[in-house]
Structures are given as C-alpha cells and as structure tokens.
C-alpha cells in the first residue's frame, strides 16, 4: 500500500469525495468561530485600536497565498518526475485559490495600511514581491489555458511554477532580506520571540487553521472536477472516433 496509489485518478476521486464535505465543514466552523472571536471578543491594540482586527484575515490569507504556490511547486515536481496526471491537475486546481488568497492579502493590507501607514500602497519590497506573485498566478493560469495539449501545458506550467517559486520565497522573506522597507517584520515566526499577545494569538491560530482547511477543501474539490473534466473530454474523443469509424465504414 503506497502513497502513490492515490495518484490513480479513480482511487483519488473515491478517497477524496467523502472527505470534501468534512474538510469544508471544518473550515467553515474554524473561520466563523475565529472571526466572531477575533472581531467581537478581543480587546483593541495599544497603538492600532480596532484596526488590529484585520489581522485575522490578512495574516492567514498572506500565509496561504505563499504556501499555495509551494504546494503547486511540489505537485509540479511530482508531475515532472513521476508523470502522475493527478499531481499536475492538483497544481492547476490550486492556482485560482492561491490567486484569491493573494487578492485578499493585498486588499486587507491596503485597508489596514491607509489608517496605519497613511497609504494604501507603497513600493516596498514585500508588497512589490506580493504583486509579482499575483502576476505569476495570473500567468500560470493563462499558460494552462493557452496550451491545447494537456501534457505540454502541464510541462510548461510546471517550469513556470519553478521560476515563480523565487518570488514566493522572496515575498515570504523580503522583510528579512531588505530591512529598510515599510512593511513590518513577520509577527508570527517559529523563533522564540513573541510579538503577538496571546489574546490576539489564539483566535489567529484558529483562523489560520480555517484558511488551511478551506484551501485544502477547495483544492480537493477542484482537482476532482479537473479529473472529471478530463475523463469527459477523453470519452468525447473516443465517441467521436467511434462515430467517425462507423460513418466512415460504409463509404
């Protein structure tokens, strides 16, 4: 029993279909709970006042915007090496979800930035690398749509994904590489230093869990749809070929 058995489209669909409602349901519970908790039951920040509450949307979406690209990178590498179609389709399915995460992060950041920094947008390294990441998402989706042959499209988009991972890394670590920027350093990090008080931190963790589950659920759902679409296209082609063969015979 190997993990690679799930690369079989039929096995993947059978395994994933009963899981999807649970994952999405759990995501909804986490998101609703964390947003109600965060918005109504946490105090105001000592400098930002109530504007701090946007953290419950901004941080998880920015996190998922970057992690979605890494998930696409892993899926693309599996496709390039092992040629599992489900892997290529999972990368394709994740792109629009990741793109929306970038949009949420940029929009909430702008709404926070106007009262706090005094501007909606600044050409700061972190903000700029996020914008480039957004353009990479658009380019990735456009490339999938532009190439007719499915395997060629998967190959080309995989290479684009590898190149784009540079900007996914940059957008995560821009605040470390270029210390003279406008965007603050990472509030959440794995080092011991604590930047976020517990009262904000716990609802934020639940919100992050909600975003992770939402991403997972949507990607599974969309991958299943992509598999079904591809199977339908294959059946169409077979039916056409059969029709051509039967009509071609008498003539």
């Amino acid at each position: 029993m190997s993990l690679w058995e799930y690369a079989n489209p039929k096995k993947f669909t059978e395994t994933v279909t009963p899981l999807i409602p649970w994952v999405l349901g759990l995501a909804a519970i986490c998101l609703v709970a964390s947003l109600i908790w965060g918005v109504f039951f946490t105090p105001e920040d000592y400098r930002q006042g109530a504007t701090v509450k946007i953290i419950y949307l901004h941080v998880p979406s920015a996190l998922m915007a970057i992690n979605a690209w890494f998930m696409m990178l892993v899926a693309s590498l599996i496709w390039l090496v092992r040629r599992h179609h489900v892997s290529a389709l999972a990368a394709k399915a994740a792109a629009p979800v990741g793109m929306v995460m970038v949009l949420i992060a940029i929009a909430t950041g702008a709404i926070w930035g106007k009262p706090m920094w005094g501007t909606y947008w600044a050409w700061d390294p972190r903000l700029t690398s996020f914008l480039i990441l957004f353009l990479f998402y658009l380019g990735y989706m456009a490339l999938w749509a532009a190439v007719d042959d499915a395997d060629t499209a998967a190959d080309l988009t995989s290479v684009l994904c590898i190149v784009g991972s540079v900007f996914a890394v940059l957008s995560r670590y821009a605040v470390l590489f270029w210390n003279q920027g406008l965007h603050q350093g990472a509030s959440l990090s794995l080092d011991a230093e604590e930047h976020v008080a517990d009262v904000f931190y716990y609802p934020l963790l639940v919100s992050i869990a909600g975003f992770v589950l939402l991403f997972l659920g949507l990607v599974l759902l969309r991958t299943r749809s992509e598999i079904a679409l591809r199977r339908a296209a294959a059946l169409d082609r077979r039916a056409e070929a059969r029709a051509a063969a039967t009509t071609g015979e008498p003539a």
Partner: protein, 158 residues
C-alpha cells in the same frame, strides 16, 4: 524496459536540480547587484554621510526623536528623525497618519535642502508587536512602561 525508464526519470531529476541551482544563482546575483538600490528608504546616517542633491526626491526613514516634535500653524509640523547616530531635521505640511508620534518609526518622502529634509509625504512605520490596550495601560500603572525604544529599535532595524 524499467531500467530505461528509471534512467529517464533520473535525467529529469538532474535537470530539475540544475534548474533550481541556476535560479538560486540568478536570484542571488540579482539581489547582490541591487543590494544598495532596493532599499525603500535611507537612514539618517546614510543621508548625513552622503547628502543627496537638493533636487533629488528620496525617502528618509527612522525614529521620530523624543521631544523634537513641534507643531506650527495649521498642519505645519517639524521634528527630527534619528537612527541613534545622526539626526535629520524634517519639516512637513500635511495630514499625518494615526500611528505617527514621537519615539515611533516614520518614513518620509521629500528633498534634502540645506540640511533640512522637506517632506512631501509622511508614512508611519508599524512594528510587528500586537498588544491589548488594557495590558499596556496596566503595565504602565504598575511601573513597567512598554519600552518604545526597545520595540522600535527592532522596528527600524527590521
């Protein structure tokens, strides 16, 4: 047959590895080449040691020095920006963001004319610390004020 296939697979892995090395190298070289040009703002030390021309528009960032803030008529304001080594006097006429105050980080855009930074835009820099207002008040009442210099020293170097 299987041996042939695994050779192909091995080649693909090798090509991907070379791709990553090339990309990492290209990124490192690009970053190295632009290491001076990619900074969003200049520090008071950089401005003091290499004063820009009066017609050059650039960004200056640092801490608003404690006790230097003077409000003039209307929306006129003057203060000094410091990074611990040098102070640059700043004048500005306009609306300030909520987070702008003494001992906090700011980034201004403008020109350096006769030893004074004439700002045309001022942004406040926020640090990565989040703390409830009640806790801060309680800490101050208990005689343990939140040390803004410690918090913002980190913000400026960040």
């Amino acid at each position: 047959m299987s041996g042939f296939k695994s050779l192909k697979k091995r080649r693909r892995i090798q090509i991907i590895a070379v791709t990553f090395v090339a990309l990492a190298g290209a990124t490192a070289l690009a970053g190295y080449a632009m290491r001076d040009g990619i900074n969003y703002f200049r520090s008071p030390t950089q401005v003091a040691e290499a004063p820009p021309e009066p017609d050059e528009v650039f960004r200056l960032g640092g801490l608003v020095e404690d006790g230097s803030l003077v409000r003039g008529q209307g929306t006129q304001i003057s203060f000094r920006v410091t990074d611990g080594s040098y102070e640059i006097p700043v004048i500005y006429d306009g609306i300030l963001p909520d987070l702008f105050e003494e001992n906090q980080g700011m980034i201004g855009q403008g020109r350096y004319i006769n030893g004074t930074f004439e700002a045309i835009e001022i942004l406040a820099k926020h640090d990565e610390d989040y703390q409830p207002r009640e806790l801060t008040k309680a800490l101050e009442e208990a005689g343990h004020p939140v040390d803004p210099a410690a918090a913002d020293g980190a913000a400026v170097t960040n």
